[in-house]
Amino acid sequence: MKKRRSPFLTFSFYAFLLLIASSWYFVIGIKNASLTELFSKENLEYATKFFKGLLGVGQEEIAFLNRDSWSDAFKLTVETLQMSIMAIGFSTIVMFLTVIPAARNVADGTLTLSRRWYRWFVFGLIRVSYIFSRAIPELVWAMIVIFIFKPGILPGAIALALHNFGILGKLCAEVIEDTDSRPIRNLASAGANRAQILMYGVFPTVLPQFLTYILYRWEVIMRTTIVVGFVGAGGLGQEFKLSMSFFHYTEITLLLICYLILVIIADYISEKSRFFVK
């Protein structure tokens, strides 16, 4: 059977082609940009210099071959790890405190089989706070928090937690919304009250999924410490910015190695704990 092509699809395809063609015309024709300039000899030279710098070619002090630099970097790595654990810890706690009333099926009473007029109000309030938390990037949160506190890993952790609790809250509330209400109804008919329904019916079904999200966000937070570090939140990120400003390229290499190690650690832990949950 031959499928008729939808006119909208055809239209989109031609519009797409037109868009690409006109963009290139704008870039090259009107702005006078030249592709050859991008790959000029000068740029090539800068690039070689930068990568040579990273590898420490022809330099006296090579940070990633230096014991003291390694021990400094190790301290910073531990700090970063602490910051990320604090951040995910804070956001997980706040998420757990708010996530149940933030689920639609709790608000309308289908999950816990009890209706209260104020549920929708609480639901709205929490959902708006989630949106607010998510909408503001980590960097902005960090700038605000550091403006209030003095720089350090605690404000960094708070900034990261502020951004991530909204993300975790939304993801986890959706997990609760997807739970099957049939086992829950049956628990209720076996005489379970609201707290018992949560303990026996809701938590066992949603916790494995929660854990997956929490571990994933933890890994993301670990990488984002570099961003909040830029505005003085401490850890590897702050050092990274200093090394960049002072053109200490071999230190950058060392710090990148540290990040690599952190991500490998996070990977290992999340794999193990997921296995453990099953």
């Binding site: 628990l187 008919s189 005489g191 018992q196 026996y200």
Partner: protein, 250 residues
Amino acid sequence: MSEKNIIEINQISKNYERKIALSSLSFVVEKGELIALIGPSGAGKTTLLNLLASILEADSGELLVDGKPMSQFSDQKKRAKKIGIIRQQFDLVGQLPVIHNVLAGRLADWGFFKSLFNLFIPQERQEATTALKRVGLPDKLYERTSNLSGGEQQRVALARLLMQKPEIILADEPVASLDPARADDVLDMLTKLAKEEHQTVIASLHSVDYARKYFTRLIALKNGKLFFDLPADQVTDKQLEELYQLKELS
């Protein structure tokens, strides 16, 4: 009112928006009866069971359990001692080990801390083991419930009812999603255990054969009305034919 009547239904009606689900239905159930509700789909079987379980409320009419109106059983802990429910196997919490699904039958008697503590160290393990032995699953205590087959999960649900010990068991199509051999098995066990525990059973069933084989009294519904209400051995094939006929003979 007789002492033996555990359920009395008097002129009960239930409408959904404009649709009539049950219209002035009346019957009386004695303690210890095994009743099968039969009738074509849409006849109102689920609606009737939900009224008895007080999941729904009747529009009019009177529903007495132990001579008392349903409103006296609004406390779900008290109600759970009186009425237990079993539906299809999707009613268990799949992620929990079998023992917790069985022990959930005790939640009506447990407080907050005992329930919480039980999730870490199972309480009343002796009783749970005995219940699982009676339903023929003695070695599945710590298995994840969702790993069990449909028939096995229904047995776990029966074991939960053994822990709950309600006086009345309501079963809505308890074997609808099981193959014939498992269905036989589960119904046999349900009726056998109910007899041993002197419980009253009202079960809706798709199959008339099962209804006649395992139950003592058949109540047939059609279009929300009582079509017949007879002892299982007095139901004739002609009556059944009429029950499941699409159009009324005029």
